[in-house]
Amino acid sequence: MFEWLITLFKSNYQRWLSRRIPAAKLVTLNQRRIFIFPSRAGFSFLALLLLLLIAAINYQNNMAFALVFLLACVFFVSVLHTYANLSGLTIQALQAKPVFAGDSIAIELRLSRKGVAHYYDIKLAWKHSDQRIVSLLANDEQRISLYLPTSRRGLLRPGRLTIETVYPLGLLRAWSSLALDIEALVYPRPLAVDMKALTAVDGEEGEAMLADGSDDFYGFRDYQAGDSLKNIYWKGYAKGHDLQLKQFSSFRQKQLWLDWQTFNGNIETRLSYLCYWALRLESQQKEYGLRLPDKEIAPAKGMRHQAAVLRSLALYQQGAA
């Protein structure tokens, strides 16, 4: 019934927040950015104070009054202390290595201080990530990785990072909600598929082409994400080698094109197939090109080429390539 009101409030809050705390790579916490409010324990503490005050009044006991006043002032002073435990901290988004959809992405952050004061129990978390508790005692900075689950390919903006603390007394919670200017690339989830019809650029020379399920044993290669488990060389793994795949040969060509048209299925499935093959060909040190409906990458090999290919796959039809 009041959902529209809540939505309105939320969108207004987000807009207000983005004006007050704009996105940046590196954020130093100051009074513009830190909010503070009693925690749940803080409210219980206030209830306790009320109880103690009533006792002091009923017993007409001046030392009981003094105790209540002291505790009340402790609460009050701890506002400053809790606030100070965030103030002056700098949070920097370092990097986020691309992952495949479905994996958790590790976003690396750097927490540092300007002065020499100790910082205790700083809790950092994104809305859906795990949380980490960090202290800066002898060390001036601390690097941490927060893991954020991904579900779909594309450009991931992790939203606002919540950084909070209840130190020293747990009665107040100081927090800030930071839009760190960081983007993480999520590649399509690789899906293994047979591919009989890789298009050769120059069909002069023939080469054995790899295909799962064919009869002739060709050799080993390292396991890669998306490979089916049935061809894993378990014996070797048992002996202590890395996970390896048995490969069977049929026929292959020298320069290959990964073509959108080769595969069937919807957009995401096709991208997953292409992703699988890009990884696989790269691991075989083959040159390969990519042909998407709106884009073409000339055949090449190497990390940079692979990154470009995967990036194109991740961003296909996302508008933000």
């Binding site: 130093t28 324990a41 219980s44 503490f45 306790l48 109880l51 103690l52 009533i54 006792a55 002091a56 009044i57 009923n58 017993y59 007409q60 006991n61 001046n62 030392m63 009981a64 009054f65 003094a66 105790l67 209540v68 006043f69 002291l70 505790l71 009340a72 002032c73 402790v74 009050f76 002073v77 701890s78 400053l80 202390h81 100070a84 103030s87 002056g88 201080r113 300007k114 002065g115 020499v116 004061a117 100790h118 205790y120 129990d121 795990d130 508790i133 202290s135 005692l137 209840v166 130190y167 020293p168 007394l169 747990g170």
Partner: protein
């Protein structure tokens, strides 16, 4: 990957220690087994933490809980009341220790500890207790801090330091609140301490009773006279009237105890003494005043036998205002029932005393003459005032009067009253205190338990009740100078209390110290514990001129602003960004001097590169410039120990100073 929350080791250590400090002042009031339960629970918790034991299963926990309830019920005879409640709280937080605790439970334990801290003040607000309470206050807060310090693996004092800093910063603000917060009247009545041993004068007297009090140097009450302090021999602090004698002991009859509704005494006029009594808790209702007393303090009533009495027992220190009219007669007319009660004696027993009374009364010319004859008899015959009288047999009055002849106030008062009643003169025993010493620092009179005394009131037609003290006839020193002088020859003064400071009054510096401590206590009680109502208003008036809301707000804001800005400065000075340390200061100053001389350091040029470049041009600086630059580079980029840092900084300073 959710790991179950575990209490930080540092927090557990502080929690256990703080509980010890919280329980310690309560220990004397708790049954021993509650302490044992706490220690066991603490031990169990430590063992669990070390992985040697495991948490008890729930049947054990439930039965322990029930056992505590039953134990408290058995120890106190009730679960209601203040003492059982405190014992329950303490067993509660003991048993909480041996559960799997979440962070929330630690909050509960700590909040309970604050509550127990408050209950201590209901029992005692002594200055020593209050000073001590700063310790548990700090340690409990330290465990709250430690709860939020997951960074430490082991025990750390930083928690204590942080707690102490927070408390210190809160302290001035607390004082401010203490000054201005209005002391509202109680909202409802609350349970008072009840399970306490009653102290002071008791409401029965059989020869031998007051002797045990005479060995106690505890303070009974202080008196602050607004008018001149009467001499010691007139300071008869009347507390109890014992009008019923069964042959061995004197007790109070129900007669004559009810409250009366006298009109209040006008506080001026000849013979009127105004004073404030600050009475220590006795857990009995009677109060101690000079006859005939009136009080305007709420909760105090006058009885028909001219005493002041509180409606409830004095379970906390009580301050009451009294006006006494020493000239006012008591009961000029004595009604029949009272007359009967105050002349009644058991039919049997003490025949020799009865005979003596009849014989002496027959020889005397009247009632007053008879009284004087008896007093003369006590002073002229070989009666001895002693704190170590022999035990008396069945007919105690006879045995004392004719055989032992050794006794103290109880013996003399009791036999004197008997001899009065034997010839049908109404007489009763009065229990209370006599004398007291004056503290020269505060000008207050201190009355101790060893000042306890018993005397007699005799009713004479036309005069009413008259005070007669037979002890005065035996031992004038007791009346004039106090108990210590009265038993000086015997050496029995406070012989049972070798550690009492009052016993060593003759050592001057010790006595001065004792008086100073007493003065401290007195000011504490008068200006801190009793700081409310009129006193509070007066202080605020003196401070503000007049007490109005705007002035109060101004006071709060100005004091608050000063305190808060100091706290803010302390907190944030070590969090600001200016990273330029002393090394940078010295080095950049040197660079500025070189710049003026025409040697400019390029942007991005390292200190060593710069030094080598200049040294090539100006070889006279080479040595100093190179070592200064190296020192700066070390300070800026190398991890150094504080000692090394200091040494290198010194080198940097001297070398940089040579570059001119």
């Amino acid at each position: 990957m959710q790991v179950a929350w575990q209490i930080p080791r540092n927090c557990l250590a502080w929690l256990l220690f703080s509980q010890l400090t919280v329980i310690a002042p309560q220990a004397s009031r708790l049954p021993l087994w509650v302490l044992v339960v706490y220690l066991l629970a603490g031990l169990w918790r430590v063992m669990v933490y070390q992985g040697r034991w495991s948490f008890p299963h729930w049947p054990i926990k439930v039965s322990m809980m029930l056992a505590c309830f039953v134990g408290i019920f058995l120890s106190y005879g009730s679960l209601l009341g203040l003492e059982p409640a405190v014992a329950l709280l303490i067993s509660g937080f003991s048993l909480k220790l041996i559960e799997v605790i979440k962070q929330r439970d630690v909050y509960v334990i700590i909040f309970l500890a604050y509550l127990v801290l408050l209950t201590e003040f209901i029992f005692s607000q002594d200055i020593y207790i209050t000073v001590y309470m700063l310790l548990p206050m700090t340690t409990v807060t330290a465990s709250l801090v430690a709860l939020h310090q997951h960074g430490y693996d082991g025990f750390s004092f930083t928690s204590l330091r942080k707690a102490a800093v927070i408390l210190l910063q809160a302290f001035p603000l607390m004082l401010l609140l203490f000054f201005i917060f209005p002391r509202v009247a109680p909202l409802w009545s609350v349970p008072l301490p009840t399970h306490q041993a009653k102290t002071g004068v008791s409401d029965t007297l059989s020869p031998g009773d007051i002797s045990s009090l005479s060995q106690s140097s505890e303070l009974a009450f202080r008196v602050d006279f607004q008018t001149a302090i009467p001499p010691p021999k007139q300071r008869y602090w009347r507390g109890l009237v014992l009008d019923q004698f069964d042959g061995r002991k004197w007790t109070r009859s129900e007669l004559d105890q009810g409250a009366t509704m006298d009109k209040p005494l006008s506080q001026t006029g000849a013979g009127v003494i105004n004073y404030t009594v600050i009475q220590e808790p006795t857990f009995q209702p009677w109060l101690f005043t000079l006859a005939v007393a009136y009080s305007t303090t709420a909760g105090i009533e006058r009885t028909a036998d001219y005493r002041l009495q509180r409606k409830l027992p004095v379970s906390e220190r009580l301050i009451y205002q009294v006006s006494s009219d020493t000239r006012q007669p008591m009961d000029v007319q004595l009604d029949k029932r009272l007359r009967l009660m105050n002349t009644r004696l058991p039919v049997q027993g003490n025949q020799r005393a009865q005979l003596l009374a009849d014989q002496l009364y027959a020889q005397s010319t009247g009632k007053r003459d008879y009284i004087n004859t008896l007093l003369r008899r006590f002073s002229e015959q070989d009666y001895v005032y002693t704190l170590n009288p022999p035990a008396l047999g069945e007919n105690s009055i006879d045995a004392f009067l004719f055989d032992s002849r050794r006794g103290f106030c109880g013996h003399y008062a009791s036999s004197f009253a008997f001899l009065m009643r034997a010839v049908d003169i109404p007489a009763r025993i009065i229990g209370g205190y006599l004398g007291g010493e004056v503290n020269p620092i505060t000008g207050t009179v201190l009355v101790h338990q060893f000042d306890a005394h018993a005397w007699v009131e005799v009713w004479l037609p036309g005069s009413g009740w008259l005070r007669v003290d037979p002890t005065a006839a035996v031992s004038p020193e007791r009346i004039e100078q106090g108990l210590e002088q009265a038993v000086a020859a015997e050496g029995s003064f406070l012989s049972g209390a070798p550690l009492s400071a009052a016993r060593y009054r003759h050592i001057i510096w010790l006595n001065t110290l004792r008086m100073r401590m007493d003065a401290l206590n007195y000011y504490w009680i008068n200006w801190v514990l009793d700081f409310k109502g009129e006193k509070q208003l007066q202080v605020l008036k003196a401070l503000l001129g007049e007490v109005t809301a705007p002035r109060l707000i101004l006071l709060v804001l100005s004091v608050g602003a000063v305190v808060l800005s100091v706290i803010t400065f302390l907190l944030f000075k070590s969090r600001r960004g200016s990273k330029q340390g002393p090394a940078e200061g010295v080095y950049f100053a040197m660079c500025r001097r070189l710049d003026k001389l025409g040697f400019h350091r390029h942007a991005g040029e390292g200190p060593m590169d710069f030094a080598h470049r200049i040294a090539a041009e100006q070889p006279q600086w080479k040595e100093h410039l190179l070592s200064a630059s190296r020192a700066y580079a070390s300070l800026a980029y190398e991890p150094l120990l504080p000692k090394q840092q200091q040494a290198i900084l010194k080198l940097l300073r001297t070398e940089a100073a040579r570059i001119k």
